[in-house]
Amino acid sequence: MTEHLAALQVVIPLLCAPLCMLVRYRDWSWIVALFGSWACLIISWLLLQLVMVDGIISYHMGNWAPPLGIEYRIDKVSAFVLLIVSAIGAVITPYARESVRAEFGVNRVYLFYTAYMLCLCGLLGVTITGDAFNLFVFLEISSLSSYVLIALGKDRRALTAAYQYLVLGTIGATFIVIGIGLLYAETGTLNMADLAKRLADQPLSRTIGAAFGFLVVGISLKLALFPLHLWLPNAYTYAPSVVSAFLAATATKVAVYVLLRFLFSIFNVKLSFGVMPLDSILLVLAVIAMFAASAVAIFQTNLKRMLAYSSVAQIGYMILGISFANVNGLAAGIIHLFNHALMKGGMFLALGCIFYRIASVNINDMAGMGRRMPWTMGAFVVGGLGLIGVPLTVGFISKWYLVLGALERDWWFAAALVLLSSLLAVVYIWRVVEVAYLKPVPEDAPEIEDAPPAMLIPTWILIGASVYYGINTDLTVGVAKQAAQQLLGAG
């Protein structure tokens, strides 16, 4: 069956989604979701091994040969992103059981797992497909299901947050489909490899320029690049804990992947960064994101909102890496995809543990939390160290390669800005540490245990991985460098 792994990667969560809907007895749908997400992880791991050996895997849907048929095309970049998404999914599903039961009530959990599986299916589909229109379809599957997931939040503001995301996400999707439509009008093909070949032969026309603009703006909306990030803070704040963790760790990462795919594989480096001045635009926006969003994060009292703004800043680092358009910068962007998924996923899960016990993530309720829930708070702090970029955490690796990339382009000021912005992360993480460890436990605080193991273990797997991959960088740096070379080589 190895030749069908590419199809199964998407089909298994697609099949699990309706099954979750049918299995309504208590929370048995969780078992289906668990099977689905673990199967996805195994498949993506096998695919990565295959790709590292054989190069590109191409799968023809329905045996219709590309460029007419839909092709699933897995190269090093997509295999790596597939692994990130499915690994996060596989870690979060075991955690979800307790958390979702507590937040939704047992009667509605099946709705959560159905939307969750669809979202996973969409995200994996976006990453695996080699067809521009198919990418749009999967992007919509993942977006629509994430609107549902956010709206499931207990807080009534979750509905407005989901609606806001729906409106902005739909504008983004419309821009993307207009861009794809214009490309189709100009070249007559939707297959990405074919598009790249035909675009390389054509002189730059106004249609191609417009398509480029629409695509970049549309994708930037989806990945929440400053100043198009306005949907993100509310969505992450009011979504259920599991959903915040899952979306923060995967959805924006996949959107960054889509941007990489379009900038480097479909349009080429010459067009994206030579003819179009995208490198300076991305550089400026990324730097503003790093500073503005981190600064806003410092003043948040809701910790989920703080992490959400921090995500906007971290997306700035990824885009900064892309704007360098050299191997180290690009590799830094791709490494940070992985690293940020681990850190932010782990930190949102830690907040989910706190919410499970005290039903609040407000900083005023965190007094003495370091003693009340030592393991949970420990995970949060280690994740926070990663965000700052302390050596021996993954954040350090990302920033190291970012600085290398910046120096390679002689943009020493960008390197300095990366280091300066890390100081802002110190401030917002320290605020939490100060309250949680240095303030006494309030007199009237009820006695609470730490979170149940079913929630703590997944949290610590992500946080532990964020330390492990900060020390052993063979997988991340190795794959990311090859992926970056491949992206740049294609142009």
Binding site: M1, H4, A7, L8, V11, L14, L15, A17, P18, L19, M21, L22, Y59, H60, M61, G62, N63
Partner: protein, 143 residues
């Protein structure tokens, strides 16, 4: 509206034709314009008309929520299941050629089942969306 005799009689007369037309669009979709999505919408429009004229309660008896929920899942399962069946008998995902003794038959059977899945899901989702909104009673908190 419940006492409006003309509407009730006309709706009752039209109902079988709407359903028949839905079936035509569904199964003729293999050869001409049409297919599961369009047919699903026509079916759903029929049920929504019924609900508008005869009330939500009687429409709910015709299509209970449980069946709708089952239908939504069943259609997707049918679609994806056809693909998995193709894998199991040795083809690519959704390669209908391997479904029957010869490729032409296989393509017929494959697209028929897939479109049937689409039709079931689209009908169920459309009716479910209508029911959900129609049954929603605004509470005081809503603006």
């Amino acid at each position: 509206m419940h006492s409006n005799l003309v509407l009730r009689v006309v709706a009752k007369l039209l109902m079988p034709f709407i359903m028949l037309f839905g079936l035509y669009v569904q199964f003729h979709g293999d050869f001409g314009p049409g297919g599961g999505f369009q047919a699903g919408v026509i079916f759903a429009a029929g049920f929504i008309l019924y609900a508008l004229i005869f009330g939500l309660q009687s429409a709910g008896k015709v299509l209970p929520r449980g069946i709708l929920r089952f239908g939504i899942a069943l259609g997707v399962l049918l679609f994806a299941g056809v693909g998995v069946y193709n894998l199991l008998v040795g083809g690519q995902y959704l390669d209908y050629n391997v479904m029957a003794q010869d490729p032409v038959h296989g393509q017929h059977l494959g697209i028929l089942l897939v479109e049937l899945g689409v039709g079931i899901t689209v009908t169920s989702v459309m009716v479910m969306v209508f029911f959900t909104f129609a049954r929603h009673r605004p509470t005081k908190g809503d603006d």
